[in-house]
Symmetry: C2
């Protein structure tokens, strides 16, 4: 198995891009990653996307975007794993290069959802759940997460305000990220006063949708050397696991088994323990998911993640920084593209390019992308050479 390195990153700002088409958005990120890598050719494009078929009447994004960026005749495939589609694209790119089948792979991802009617988007998000046993019963994604959060509060005796820290940290970090959808800080009062979406999830617990695209360029690590201010960044761990697609099928709905398994796979490959991770781009689609991820990945005991937030340990200077560029909550959540934003941000941190949000001395970063209600989880660990 060849080692794989990331040599280029690209992203668009996340917002309502009504003036840009699906391919313009995706192309912007892919071309920007290629420019960052100093390459004008790739062999394969793995595109993460969840809902362009319904939202944009366009599937087949591998060929579509390869053609658009002038890389005709290259391999081009789309990966879909609901909200973890982008991490699936990255993992496929890693395997393609590791296998020796591909020399230069681009993992790209795009989602363009804000100019589609909201019933189409809500319906499309529901295709990540169990159509027969969840969607057809009328339960939405936020409602499923609300049930989980309510259970967590009951089980571990937390009040709702204990979750404020996740949102406050994300928004504080989003302020300094020019690509973030929301760039205003929020206070604990803002959190407590926020309108309810699905009790106990309020607006400040929920991440905003948005349009955006991100991309990374991957090559065999043996072909890359560290340069001043540009350390070689290797993919040292990759793990993927699923869980029951329906939440009600799980014996312990408060434990993200797929998060645990994917993280353990990545730790084992990287020969690392959770304590050695310098930052963790968690999938904070809802604040409860940030908490459950921290616990399943070994950063907090079950039921204790809110303490990490309350004690400031998830800030860039804390013990386990999360959402360092705003997370899903403030940077925004363009569903099928989010996993690559997380990985782009890990690379920014490992390169020392994270500006005011730089995690001091970051050498090892993890990103974890969650699809469905914890039913498909993919984790990656990246490491900067000394």
């Amino acid at each position: 198995m060849r080692e794989v390195a990331v040599i280029g990153i690209g992203q668009t700002k996340i917002e309502e891009h009504w003036d840009k088409s699906l391919r313009e958005l995706a192309g912007e990120a892919v071309l920007s990653a290629m420019a960052d890598a100093g390459l004008d050719h790739f062999d394969a494009l793995y595109m993460g996307n969840m809902m362009s078929g319904s939202a944009n009447f366009q599937q087949h994004l591998g060929a579509y975007i390869a053609d658009w960026v002038g890389q005709r005749y290259t391999e081009g495939i789309r990966l879909e794993a609901a909200c973890s589609s982008a991490a699936a694209a990255f993992r496929t790119a890693v395997m393609a290069v590791a296998s020796g089948e591909v020399e230069v792979a681009v993992a790209g991802a795009v989602e363009k959802m804000t100019d589609s009617p909201s019933d189409i988007i809500t319906g499309e998000l529901a295709t990540a759940a169990d159509a027969d046993w969840e969607r057809d019963q009328g339960i939405s994604f936020v409602a499923l997460n609300a049930l989980i959060m309510r259970r967590y509060m009951h089980e571990y005796k937390w009040g709702k305000e204990a979750f404020a820290g996740f949102s406050i940290n994300a928004h504080a970090n989003g302020v300094n990220n020019p690509n973030a959808r929301f760039r205003s800080p929020i206070s604990e009062q803002d959190y407590v006063r926020a309108p309810m979406v699905a009790d106990p999830i309020n607006v400040m617990d929920a991440s905003p949708l948005g349009d955006g695209a991100a991309a990374l360029v991957l090559v065999p690590a043996e072909k890359v050397r560290s340069a001043p201010g540009q350390p070689r960044i290797r993919v040292v761990g990759s793990g993927a696991a699923t869980d029951t697609i329906a939440v009600h099928s799980r014996q312990v709905p408060l434990w993200l088994s797929a998060a645990e398994k994917s993280a353990r796979q990545a730790y084992a490959q990287a020969s690392l323990r959770p304590e050695e991770i310098d930052l963790f781009e968690a999938h904070d689609a809802f604040s409860i998911m940030a908490a459950l991820s921290l616990e399943a990945c070994g950063f907090a005991e079950p039921g204790k993640a809110p303490l990490l937030a309350l004690e400031g340990e998830i800030r860039p200077t804390g013990r386990i920084p999360i959402a360092t560029m705003g997370g899903l909550k403030a940077r925004g959540h363009p569903v099928g593209a989010t996993g690559l934003y997380q990985l782009v941000e890990v690379v920014q941190q490992l390169r020392g390019q994270a500006g005011a949000n730089q995690v001091p001395g970051a050498k090892i970063g993890m990103a974890q992308n969650i699809g469905g209600s914890g039913s498909n989880i993919i984790a990656h660990i990246l490491r900067a050479d000394e």
Copy 2:
């Protein structure tokens, strides 16, 4: 790069499966492939599918089907490349095993389309084309292929009846395949009299849609030995290439560049020439596509493929047998699953399990799956050990 072997195959009959749900269909194929392999566990499931989001209100098929077949906590990702989604799933499974990341991979694929309204299916098929420049102008897939066929007839001076051989061969082979949708032979008169769909494509040039699922189990070749009547079957070549997504962007619309490139990649990996291929499961979605594939892959000179059909060279006993179990035309074309039917059939041939359609002494088989109007083409070569 580890060598990869196929140790299990499974498929459902292709028909209108109104009595089976999406997961029942997919589960049947996956479980049957696992039983054939003698395994009760896999590490990763790569599911090819094009349109379950719109046709069945269900995406996220990796987690969905892994859960359904009782393989919770394994990796599960969906691959989409329009009509070549299934070959994309197979290629991903090959790379996953080759990279050392996965020990037992299942490539599965499913499409369930016959109980959805036909406008949804036609619209969904159009998401494989260019939404802005093809779909929005009202041109359908069959119309795009009709333009290509008309140009071929003009350029190479063939009458329409020259294409009859492709359809006659496919139907003759479908008779002996219990999983085929159509099992009646047709005559040249049937072909000539068939009602027109989009001139010059008539009903006998066009493959029927259908519901179906297929699956293959892949493991490292070093772990497999040949047994009596069950030779070890290795994946010796894999190639993938895209072309312009819109047909009008191509300088030579009669040359399938992506077919040529993917086949050449596969030949180079396998160190084989076209003459050494014993059978070729071509993507005969329309008879013109069978002709263009034969030419692009080096089995016929440009403009000469109809001769192969007229001279009987595409029959199981001919020089380059195609559609040996009925092809898309008679076995049926469950869009995102077709590529795995092709590969299952190649394995049947290499194992000597193709019954009345057995290609005598078949040791090397190629399958090629086409997505869009030639815009995404994936080729694989399988070889049975002596």
